[in-house]
Amino acid sequence: MNQTDTIKLEVPAKHKYLNVVGACITSILERMEDIAESATVAYGVELAVHETCTNIVEHAYAGISGLIHMSITIEQSPKRLVIELKDNGRSFDPAKVPEPNLEESQVNGYGLFLMHQLMDRVDYYPQSGQNRWYLVKNLESRIAS
């Protein structure tokens, strides 16, 4: 079977509601069968999406009210999660964000780095009026013993 399911969510771009995003992702992964280390994967994806949303709240909207439009697509072949996030705030150039120096403990600057570490693909498409993040997590099947 090669069924694809998509779940859509629209949340106000406020820190207050980002736990809803996390709960949604965890709930989806809980019900996916045969995923290796599903709890660890769910936590990592939740953190990556949370950091993306935090970026949108703090930099795209920067104190202005707005919405985050999220869609989570569960693909079966190959098994993966595709998460798209859209905002109508200011865009930015990810190339201008310096990577953290991991040899020193920094106070800030880990958000984008964490997204790349936790996901298999992180693309950002700045567009006038609507910015789009495209995140992919490949899901490994649990090997039957």
Binding site: T40, L47, E51, Q106
Partner: protein, 118 residues
């Protein structure tokens, strides 16, 4: 636990060590209280701080920043900010950022407190 924020925050003093025990989601929405307490606690000399994360279920980069800031301030004041009882999943953000090497992390709170005596 504050049901509105799914986060709780308790502090106590054990000798000259200030302990902050957190529970729930430690993130950009809940960080402010902890950040404010850390600013006050790290004004002492020496600033001996233990943060107990036993019941913390999620840590984001904003919460991490508050802890790093607290560690840096306490080390500037002849002290340290030490962590204890991290859940395995919460360790992830420390490992990816390699901050598990920068912080002193203990398995138990008593152990973290007693380490200041040495």
């Amino acid at each position: 636990m504050d049901e509105k924020t799914n986060f709780s925050f308790e502090t106590r003093a054990v000798g000259n060590v200030q302990v902050m025990a957190l529970a729930g989601r430690f993130d950009a929405y809940t960080v402010e209280k902890a950040r404010g307490w850390l600013e006050e606690a790290t004004a002492d000399v020496p600033a001996h701080i233990v943060v107990n994360l036993r019941d913390v279920t999620f840590v984001d980069s904003t919460a991490l920043a508050a802890l790093v800031q607290g560690m840096k301030r306490s080390r500037q004041r002849d002290g340290d900010l030490r962590l204890c009882q991290l859940q395995q999943k919460v360790r992830l953000i420390f490992e990816l950022t390699r901050l598990d090497r920068a912080f002193e992390i203990y398995t138990g709170e008593d152990e973290a407190i007693q380490a200041f005596a040495h």
